[in-house]
Symmetry: C2
Subunit: 142 residues, 2 copies
């Protein structure tokens, strides 16, 4: 995993600092998206809240992570899987919010649909958030 972290930082021309490493580590070890607050908690509050804000902002700009709006107003962040770059996201997968465990995950294998919009509307990006019960919570046992 360390390799992966270094790679991400180098590829994005970001200096290798503890905060960034810790936050990337958290993303890589956490399955699913996290809100700012989750991240802060997940770090054991060792990193200043402000640094977290700034780091997330930077990661967003660089295309390392993407943000997922959810209906309760919390913004979730998740790692971009591949070939996103500065100002150029390829973020065309569906997101799933589980009503039971609260987790938000990227369904990388489900692409956002092409929609037939009324005349005059020019779509640039389609964001799909599905809510329901996720695979894990849907298990009959355990």
């Amino acid at each position: 995993m360390d390799n992966e972290i270094q790679e991400i930082l180098i590829n994005n021309k970001l200096s290798n600092t503890e905060g960034r490493r810790k936050i990337l580590e958290l993303f890589l070890s956490h399955n699913g998206a996290m809100a700012h607050n989750d991240i802060e908690k997940g770090l054991g509050e060792k990193i200043d809240r402000v640094t977290v804000y700034r780091t997330l902002q930077k990661f967003l700009n660089k295309g390392i992570i993407h943000s997922i709006p959810t209906s309760d107003g919390s913004i979730q962040y998740a790692l971009c899987k591949n070939d996103c770059s500065e100002g150029h996201h390829h973020d065309d997968h569906v997101h799933f919010v589980c009503r039971q465990c609260g987790n938000t995950v990227c369904l990388d294998e489900v692409n956002t649909p092409t929609l037939d919009l009324p005349k005059g509307f020019k779509p640039r990006q389609v964001e799909v958030i599905v809510s329901g019960v996720c695979k894990d919570c849907n298990q009959p046992r355990g």
Copy 2:
């Protein structure tokens, strides 16, 4: 329009107060969704901020309005067109956020698609937010 306002309030067993009337009036006269802040401004700040919060919350619960999460984290609110009722939204249309004018509108005529999710995921609601350039901003003239 007054009739419509009265009707909404009566149908939802809400007492007929100035704040509620004003906020409904604003929704009815405004084409598109509004964030909390827009609503406060739109009311000319005649109604207490707290009342706006509480009213929106109540309208949401009653199914008079629905909320639209957008990627910048602002929650937008829009009138439900029909047959939504308490805890029972029929809110299966697509939302469009214009990058030029910033407006968010409901595309009532475009239904949310049915998606093929991975095994185990049980969808309950599908939220689609399209961003791009809206009909109005796409006009070659004017």
